[in-house]
Symmetry: C2
DNA sequence: TTGAAAGCGATACCAC
DNA sequence: GTGGTATCGCTTTCAA
C-alpha cells in the first residue's frame, strides 16, 4: 500500500502538497496538481480513511440498528438509509438488535467505540431514550418508533391516521361489523393503530365491541389464531382489519380454512404493504408505509446534523401512510348485507 | 472524549501502562491495573478504534456486498454474516450493488479506502473475479455466486442437486409432463437449476420438450407470463417447477386465473423457500437454501483467513439444498392421470 | 504556491 | 513491571 509520502516522493513534492492536490483544498498549481495526480494513479494510491478519520475526527460512517433485517418490514428502511448515505459518501454499519434492549445498548457502545458519526435507530427499548441523552453519545435519529422522552430527531409515520383510513374504507363499503386483530401490547405502534380503528368506528357512530377486538402479536400465527376466534363468533364480522400484513395473511388463511371466500364472504385489510401483500391471492388491500423514504429521510436528517446544517432543536417529521386498495375488500356490501 | 493520556494522568501512570492494563497485554501489577481501570471508568474512557486501527492496520470491519437487501433472498444471508461478525467483534458495512458491475466496483474501491479487512461478496459481475485477483484487494469470500476464475474462498449451494430433488419429487408423484420456468439467461444459478431439472427428466427416461421450458427472469411477473404460456399448451403440463419462489408464486396466480386448482389440477414447486413460501395458499413446496448458514459460514471463513487461521489455498464449501414438501404438489397422481 | 512540522490517539519496542 | 517514544498515514496551521 503506497502512502502519501510515496506519492510525494514520486511527484517530487511534499506530502502536504499531495494532500492538497488530492483533496482540492488550498492552493496548488495546475502543473503540480497534474504531476501529483499522475504519480498517485501510477502507484495505485488509495488514501487511508483511517488516518484521515483520526485527524478529522469523523469517520463518515453511520450505524444502523434494526431489530432484525430478516423481518420484511426493515430491508426497505435499510435500503433507504444506505442509498442516502452512499450518495453522500457515508458508509453504514448494520446491526441486528433482536429488539433486545441489552443488545441494543451493547451495539450502541460498540458503535461509539468505533467512532461512528451518528446512529439511525429503530428502537426497541424505552431505555434507548436515555442513551441519547448522555452527553457523549453520537447524534441519533429515531425511525418508526420513538422511545418516550427522546430529545432527538425522529421520522415516524402517522399510524393512527393510516388505520383510520383503512377502517373508513371498510365502513364506506358498507361494513358495520369490523373485527380488529391488534398488535403486541406495549407497542406504541400497535396502540396507535388500534386508536385509528376506534376513531373510525366512532365517526361512524358504531360502539366498539370488545369481542371484535382480538389480541395479536404481529405474526402470521397470531393473526391466524385471532381470526379463528373472530370467525367463530355468533355474529361474525363481515370484515377484519389486522394491525399488520403478516397477521392479515394469517386471517386470510383462517378464513379460507373456514370455507370463507375473500372478499365475498370476508373483507380483509392489512397494514405495512410488505412485498408479499400484492403477490398473495387475492392481492391484499393494505396501508403502505413509506419505508424506503423513512430510511432515506432519516439518513439525510442525520447527515445534516452531523455536518452542522441543522438547528439545535430536535426535528420531528411525520410521514403519511397511504391506503393501497387491491382486491381483498371487494366492492360495496349489498344493502342489508350478509350474515346475521 | 477522554484519551488514553487523560487516563494515564488520572491514574498516575504512563499511557503505555494504561494500554497494557486495558488490553491485558504485557505485565501490569494488579494494583496498577485496578487504578487504571478505576480511572478509565471514572472518566468514561472509550478507546478510539480509529487510532487503534491505524497502528494495528486492521479495522475489524467486514464489507458485505449484496445486490439488494430488499430482495427477500438476501436478508437471511446478511443476518448470518452480521451474527458471525458480531460474535467475533467485527462490524459489517452493508452495500447494495443492484447487481450493477459498476456499482460493485465502486463499492469495492470505497471499502478498500475505508480499510475494511475483508469482503463478503454476492457477486453480480463476472468482473468481480478480476478484482480479487489484484494484489491490493482485501480478502474476499464469494457467496451464492462465483464469478468465473475467482481464486478465493467460496460458499455455494448445489443448485443442480436441489432442482434434481425437486423434479424427482414430482416424478415420484407420477407426473410426466413437467413444465419448467427458467431463470434469467446468463445466470449461473439459473443454468445449474435447469441442469438439475433436465437430469431428473433424463433419469426417468423422459425426453425434454422445449415447449415445456419457458424463459423467466426470477420475478413474479416473469413467472406469471411464463405460466400463461405453459398452461395454454395443447398438452399442458400437470406440474411446473419454477427456478425460484417468486416465479412459482406467479405460476400459482396464473393457474388460479385459468381456473386451475393447486395441487389438484396443477402441482407447483418453487426454489429458495423465501418467507412467503409457507404463508401463501397452498403452502408452497420448494427447495430451501440454507441462506442464514451461508452468510454465517462465509463470515467465518473470511475471519479465519484474516486472522491467519486459513491455509493458502482457496476453500470451496458446497452446502446442500433441502426439499421442503408442503402442499402445492398434493398426493400422487391417479394412475392414468389427467389430461391428454 | 509550497514545505516543515505538529499533531490525531493508541500501540509496541526498548530501556531501565 | 513501568515509562519514554517512535510510529501508523494523513491533515493543517504557519512560515517561507
Amino acid at each position: 500500500m503506497p502512502t502519501i509520502r510515496d506519492v510525494a516522493r514520486a511527484a517530487g513534492v511534499s506530502p502536504a502538497t499531495v494532500s492538497r492536490a488530492l483533496n482540492g483544498s488550498g492552493y496548488v498549481s495546475p502543473e503540480t496538481r497534474q504531476r501529483v495526480l499522475d504519480a498517485a494513479a501510477r502507484l495505485g494510491f488509495t488514501p487511508s480513511y483511517i488516518a484521515r478519520s483520526l485527524v478529522r475526527k469523523a469517520t463518515r460512517t453511520l450505524g444502523l440498528l434494526v431489530p432484525d433485517i430478516t423481518n420484511p418490514y426493515f430491508p426497505a428502511i435499510a435500503r433507504g438509509v444506505e442509498d442516502a448515505a452512499a450518495r453522500a459518501g457515508y458508509s453504514v454499519v448494520l446491526c441486528n438488535t433482536d429488539g433486545d434492549p441489552d443488545h441494543e445498548e451493547d451495539y450502541i457502545q460498540f458503535l461509539r467505540e468505533r467512532q461512528v458519526d451518528g446512529l439511525v435507530l429503530i428502537a426497541s427499548s424505552p431505555r434507548a431514550g436515555e442513551l441519547v441523552a448522555r452527553g457523549d453519545a453520537p447524534p441519533v435519529v429515531f425511525v418508526d418508533r420513538v422511545p418516550p422522552g427522546a430529545r432527538a430527531d425522529v421520522v415516524v409515520v402517522d399510524n393512527r391516521r393510516g388505520m383510520l383510513e383503512a377502517t373508513r374504507h371498510l365502513l364506506a363499503l358498507g361494513h358495520r361489523r369490523i373485527g380488529f386483530v391488534a398488535g403486541r401490547v406495549g407497542s406504541g405502534t400497535a396502540e396507535e393503530r388500534l386508536a385509528g380503528y376506534l376513531a373510525a368506528l366512532g365517526e361512524a357512530g358504531i360502539a366498539p365491541d370488545s369481542h371484535y377486538i382480538a389480541p395479536g402479536d404481529f405474526t402470521f400465527q397470531g393473526g391466524y389464531q385471532a381470526a379463528r376466534g373472530l370467525l367463530s363468533l355468533p355474529d361474525r364480522p363481515t370484515a377484519v382489519v389486522a394491525a399488520n400484513d403478516l397477521m392479515a395473511v394469517g386471517v386470510c388463511r383462517a378464513a379460507l380454512e373456514a370455507g370463507l371466500r375473500i372478499p365475498q364472504d370476508l373483507a380483509v385489510v392489512g397494514y405495512d404493504d410488505i412485498p408479499m401483500a400484492e403477490l398473495i391471492h387475492p392481492p391484499l388491500t393494505t396501508v403502505a408505509q413509506p419505508t424506503y423514504q423513512m430510511g432515506e429521510l432519516a439518513a439525510r436528517l442525520l447527515m445534516e446534523r452531523l455536518e452542522g446544517r441543522a438547528g439545535p432543536e430536535p426535528r420531528r417529521v411525520v410521514l403519511e401512510a397511504r391506503l393501497v386498495v387491491r382486491e381483498s375488500c371487494g366492492a360495496a356490501l349489498a344493502a342489508g348485507g350478509r350474515g346475521g
